[in-house]
Symmetry: C2
Subunit: 196 residues, 2 copies
């Protein structure tokens, strides 16, 4: 690290991702991260008190990139809720598929990290379903959706579309026919939201 | 094996499941199966030409138990299609949860076998979605469901409810709240089938 640059948490997390990419999750150490930054490992520990905390933070940062990308769609108040929901589900599927497809080794690394992480994944899912709840609530306000409890319905929408965002299906995301399957599930879910 | 008993494929498969239960998928061999039956391994090979064929057949048998259990619900012509659909999804969830929960070691063994199997899982999924297609078609005939293509819609229903039958979610099936989640997803899907 050039001495003039301040060692921020963000710079450590960037370096950690790079070290994970290079060494894989089993071998990457805090010493590797410190070496990549040209600092002592003590400097890294001043920002993240344990290796586990550093790994959790880098996982959270990776997951947050997706939620931040989607938050913009929730905020598009001028679009009707059904269009916003379709755009949101599409953006989620595209983001996850891109992560899995463009850099499969880093994706596999993060799959290891998410399994060992205590809070990062439940927090990520809570973020996403909370975004979905806002869209469902907007649809109720507009009178285009039917639901007794927006949060419960949002979680059902999230779970019903899991095939197109849950990493356990990553191997299917480039299969022929997956787009038609995606459309059929989203149409079914949207019709369910319109309700009777 | 008592000499008076005929060595049938079914008896070999029963013994194979028992050997798998005892030795696990990595160690179970055709010789173990033959020994359990008191026959030569040549006798086993006369029914199943390779170890892979035997493993595929025992996997198929395990999966078929579930589809056979569900086939009865599809045939209950006197129940209205929505009730049949709800009963079918419930029976599928219960059957998978029972398999995962009552004998976790055998379930883990079959998870290994299904991953190495070429055709057993796709055939099982095709069986189940074909049963669902019959129910969706019955709902169209009765005028209670809306769908342009019953097979496409049936696959969407199957995929939208995957959280409650796909083994990749087995760890969640005993979690608190899973019943409420199940109900919310099934209600959403059923409302989607009633359509607009």
């Amino acid at each position: 690290m050039a001495p003039s640059e301040t060692l921020t948490a963000e710079r450590i997390l960037e370096a950690t991702e790079e070290v994970l990419r290079r060494h894989g999750p089993a071998k990457a150490t805090v010493v590797d991260v410190a070496r990549a930054l040209g600092v002592s490992h003590g400097s890294v520990y001043r920002h993240f008190r344990t290796k586990a905390a550093l790994r959790e933070a880098v996982t959270k940062r990776w997951l947050d990139r997706t939620s931040q990308e989607l938050a913009g769609i929730v905020a598009e108040q001028e679009r009707d809720p059904e269009q916003r929901l379709r755009a949101w589900l599409r953006a989620l599927f595209d983001a996850k598929r891109r992560k899995a497809g463009h850099d499969p080794e880093l994706f596999a690394t993060y799959m290891v990290l998410t399994r060992e992480s205590g809070e990062a994944v439940p927090e990520h899912i809570a973020d996403l379903t909370s975004q979905l709840t806002d869209i469902v609530r907007a649809g109720l306000d507009a009178g285009t959706f039917t639901a007794t409890d927006p949060a419960v319905t949002a979680r059902a929408v999230f779970q019903a579309t899991g095939r197109f965002h849950d990493p356990c299906y990553a191997d299917e995301w480039e299969a022929p026919g997956v787009e038609a399957e995606y459309e059929a599930v989203v149409d079914l879910v949207v019709r369910g939201l319109r309700g009777a």
